[in-house]
């Protein structure tokens, strides 16, 4: 080897040796504290791309050595805080490093707007889980029935629909995956409670809004029931339900990225009506056949959901109108089709687009020997929208939608038929932004623009909600907005130019969680305008108005008593309307000033059973007795109901369920109805509106067949 090579090799060895030289060590030390001043224990302090590092001790101090040289990137990371980085020069003697960590807003639980909203889902913030909604006694697994035990609702036993904060049953609209559902309650005869067409089993999340809801939802004056259908099912399963009211069979096949579910349901109340005496004279008790099909697909940021339901039902009874001695054989049939397709796609990390279309078709026919009436309802809803998070403190939601529905009514008999028809089209756009202002404030502002073709009217409705984190476990909320809804379709037969009705809501809410117990207080004030009014000669106009104000209280505790979960909900409302045929402003008959619900659930581990009890109280409702001069002066007695249900887990995949409403058999009177014609003495005959039977009992066995045989229908009961 020549000398040059020797020097070169020596140099190489020396340089290698230098890099292996353990003498060149730097000491890196300092403290890590949070922005609020407290020391951070267990933070990871290290040099990027090296093993060198250490965890902070109980005082937030750190000290470690490194053999690296030159400028290196020091990183400090800790869960829930923004990662800290700083260049340090290891060739110099290092001073103590003070590291200040800022809370990571994106990782914190976002402050969720809660004024006027009850959300049920599986996340952390929800006050209720879907399981709660569905194991509530008295509801008999009906969504509307269970939601009736929440504040803001009033019990209207003969209807069974949702009546929210002074609004009538038509003022709540149901949405499935953001798309509207028309005629969402089963067809029933007047004064017999109905139930929702949709089983709670279908939904993974429910948001029940008693006012002040997002600009995304329209056509509902008082409340929106926002339901999210379940995602792709991970397992194959078959479900068999044998009940006192019928039978249903369901099957779900799951594939790698998708699942298909189908269900066939047959309901026949004949055996039940034969056993339990009813006040209705049935010739043929209600019977229905239904099929449901759902397809779900999720892959790589694309979600596609499609759902279809077809239902045909019929019933026949001897109907006796008020004040008439004889009864008329009446038949009621309904065919219902609902189709809903929804897709969402992640355009990027921060933006997703979604859209869908829903179609409802409902044909209802009521026939008697003297004549019949056939209603054919068609409805379309198309919606396209985008979510975007352009910056970390702002979320945007905007979109456009079109609603179209037409109703045609044919009434009469062989001698003559009258045909009426009306169609309505609304197109709307909505735009909403949710702003995270600091760590304690969240503001949602939005506007909804609607164009109602029938009255050629543009409306521009602002909505805003504010949520303030008033403490570690408490939140204050404020909500305000303008809401619009067309009058019921029948009104349009008589006056096709009617404008939409309008409501303005203002809600103040306070929620505090005290060691897993939740207390919620809300106060609200609503004003109604452009309500439908009928004048003395029968003309319809939008000159009606009204107000509703009151407060709600909600307390939920599933900690104090072992295996016990209970909630208490109380609502007070003061409302008057001057609408329809009211001679002056008066409290409507569907309102009870005071509503109280106490829901109690107790799990008995040794018996593997859950017992549920619900007590509901409502103060007297008003009714109008045409035999008196004053309007709506009648008062029903107080309403009391104690209902119970028992779920018994016979085997891991078999559940036995019993539910009985009105255990104590109280004779509740919902109101009075009067004949339109006076009798010979000049008095209008009237009668009580009472439930068809004192109690409704339901018994069912639910069997689930799946590979692991540990699945069951408990979450849906």
């Amino acid at each position: 080897m020549n000398r040059q090579t020797t020097i070169f090799i020596t140099f190489l060895i020396l340089s290698l040796g230098v890099s292996l030289n353990l003498d060149a060590q730097s000491s890196i030390h300092g403290t890590v504290i949070a922005y609020t001043g407290e020391a951070i224990i267990g933070a990871n302090v290290y040099i990027e791309d090296s093993y060198d590092g250490v965890s902070t001790d109980t005082l937030g101090n750190f000290e470690f050595d490194s053999e690296l040289t030159g400028i290196q990137n020091l990183i400090v990371s800790y869960l829930g805080y923004e990662t800290f980085e700083r260049d340090i020069n290891l060739d110099l003697e290092l001073e103590k490093i003070e590291v200040l960590l800022l809370e990571d807003i994106s990782e914190m639980d976002p402050i969720v707007i809660t004024a006027g909203v009850f959300e049920a889902g599986t996340g952390k913030g929800e006050v209720l889980k879907p399981l709660d909604i569905v194991t509530t006694a008295g509801a008999t697994a009906d969504i509307a029935g269970a939601l009736n035990t929440l504040p803001g609702t009033t019990t209207v036993g003969e209807e069974g629909r949702l009546f929210v904060r002074g609004g009538d049953g038509s003022e709540t609209l149901t949405f499935i995956d953001g798309l509207g559902v028309l005629d969402s309650y089963e067809t029933t005869i007047p004064n017999v409670a109905t139930r929702s067409r949709f089983s709670p089993m279908m939904f993974s999340g429910m948001s029940f809004s008693t006012g002040g809801y997002s600009a995304e939802y329209g056509r509902a004056l008082s409340s929106a029931l926002i339901l999210s259908s379940k995602d792709v099912s991970l397992q194959d399963r078959s479900d068999i339900s044998i009940m006192t009211v019928g039978l249903d069979l369901a099957h779900t096949e799951s594939f790698k990225n998708s699942s298909i579910s189908g269900k066939v349901q047959y309901t026949n109340l004949t055996p039940y009506m034969a056993l339990v005496k009813q006040r209705i004279d049935w010739i043929k008790a209600p019977e229905a056949l239904e099929g449901n099909l759902a397809y779900r697909y999720v892959k790589d940021g694309l979600t596609f959901k499609s759902y279809g339901k077809f239902n045909t039902s019929s019933m026949k009874l001897n109907y006796q109108p008020v004040g008439i001695d004889s009864s008329t054989e009446t038949m009621l049939t309904n065919q219902y089709l609902y189709l809903n397709s929804f897709a969402s796609y992640n355009l990027s990390d921060k933006t997703s687009a979604r859209g869908g279309i829903s179609y409802t078709r409902s044909i209802t026919e009521a026939s008697q020997s003297i004549g019949s009436q056939r209603d054919d309802l068609n409805g379309f809803h198309f919606k396209g929208a985008i979510y975007s998070d352009p910056v970390y403190f702002l979320s945007l939601n905007f979109g456009t939608e079109v609603f179209f529905n037409d109703l045609s009514r044919v009434s009469g008999n062989e001698e003559g038929k009258i045909k009426q028809g009306v169609d309505q089209t609304i197109s709307a756009t909505f735009m909403e932004g949710t702003w995270a202002i600091g760590r304690k404030l969240s503001l949602r502002t939005g506007v909804r623009t609607e164009y109602f073709i029938n009255s050629d009217h543009w409306s521009f409705d602002p909505r805003a909600s504010l949520a303030i984190k008033s403490g570690d476990n408490s939140q204050l909320g404020l909500s305000w907005g303008v809401f619009r809804q067309n009058a019921d379709t029948e009104s349009y037969f008589r006056n096709p130019l009617l404008s939409q009705q309008k409501a303005e809501h203002a809600i103040l809410s306070y929620q505090v969680t005290i060691k897993k117990r939740v207390l919620r207080l809300e106060a609200f004030n609503k004003t109604y305008n452009d309500l439908i009014k009928i004048d003395s000669i029968g003309n319809l106009s939008n000159s009606g108005s009204g107000y509703a104000r009151g407060m709600d209280l909600f307390w939920r505790d599933n900690k104090t008593f072992k295996n016990v979960d209970y909630w208490i909900s109380y609502s007070y409302i003061d409302t008057k309307r001057n609408y329809r045929d009211y001679p002056y402003a008066s409290t409507p008959g569907f309102v009870a000033d005071h509503n109280l619900s106490i829901v109690y659930k107790h799990w008995f581990q040794s018996l593997r059973s859950q017992l549920g009890l619900t007590y509901t109280f409502a103060s007297p409702r008003r009714y109008n007795d045409p035999n008196t001069v004053a309007f709506n002066n009648g008062r029903t007695p107080n309403y009391h109901d104690l209902s119970m249900n028992i779920s018994y887990l016979m085997k891991p995949n078999v559940i036995f369920y019993l539910s009985i409403t009105n255990l104590l058999g109280r004779k509740n009177i919902y109101g009075y109805e009067y004949s339109q014609q006076p009798d010979e003495t000049g008095l209008y005959p009237g009668r009580e509106i009472v439930p068809p039977a004192d109690r409704f009992a339901f018994l069912g066995v639910f069997i689930t067949l799946s590979k692991t045989n540990t699945m069951n229908q408990l979450p849906s009961l």
Binding site: M1, N2, T5, F8, I9, L12, I13, L16, L20, I41, G42, A43, N44, Y46, E48, D49, S50, Y51, D52, G53, V54, S55, T58, L79, G80, T122, K124, K129, L131, L234, Q235, W603, R608, L649, K651, P652, T708, T710, M711, N712, L714, P715
Partner: protein, 214 residues
């Protein structure tokens, strides 16, 4: 001369690579020592930081991220404060995700994933029981298919089925039998990797679980 130089340079390069590997081994060794000494939730989290640092550097190895996940999981399981469980288990899942990107269909990663799912049940058994016991069952089932002899998989399956049987008041003897097999496997299991840091934990947990069966 040139040939000698080349050999020398080649030799130094090999030494450099060996040095780097040697660093990895040293760091892992240090981590394992810290792990064996850690007995509190806080100490466990500190150990997870050590493994996280190694995982940041060694993007081709699954074990550092796996151990980071393991230590966060153990720290969580030891901690009484359930309010932080979900966040910490999410962190553990994040490390497992990192590990599975390096090593797909890895029986140890799946076993730990199944265990994390079981832990999530404890946060809210009433609501989560159904969802997470099914999910855990599926994860552990997949792991068992990959390697029917893995003791950790067998032990977790025994514990999961025991919990379910207990809830429904049915027979727990099958679960106990499975745990016996798991205990045997802890002693005889041969992993294929010959990696000195291949997971070998869990026997103590299975032993203390076995006490429920006696």
């Amino acid at each position: 001369m040139k040939k000698t130089t080349l050999i020398l340079i080649a030799g130094m390069l090999v030494a450099a690579v060996a040095y780097a590997n040697d660093n990895y081994m040293k760091a892992m060794q240090k981590g394992m020592e810290e792990l064996s000494e850690a007995s509190s939730p806080e100490a466990m989290l500190n150990v997870s930081n050590t493994f996280a640092r190694i995982a940041n550097v060694e993007k081709e190895e699954w074990l550092p991220a796996y151990y980071a996940a393991y230590t966060v999981t153990m720290s969580t399981a030891m901690s009484g404060d359930m309010s932080a469980w979900d966040k910490n288990l999410d962190k553990a899942d994040g490390f497992l995700q990192q590990a599975s990107q390096v090593s797909e269909d890895n029986v140890e990663i799946l076993a730990l994933k199944g265990f994390i799912q079981m832990l999530r049940i404890s946060v809210d058994p009433q609501t989560r029981g159904q969802e997470y016991s099914t999910a855990s069952g599926m994860t552990l089932g997949k792991a068992r298919q990959l390697d029917p002899n893995n003791p950790r998989v067998l032990y977790f399956l025994a514990q999961l089925s025991y919990g379910t049987a207990q809830f429904f008041g049915s027979d727990v003897s099958e679960s106990c039998k499975l745990n016996q097999i798991a205990l045997q496997q802890f002693d005889t299991y041969k992993d294929n990797s010959e990696d000195p840091f291949y997971p070998s934990w869990g026997k103590n947990m299975a032993l203390s679980f076995q006490e429920n069966c006696n």
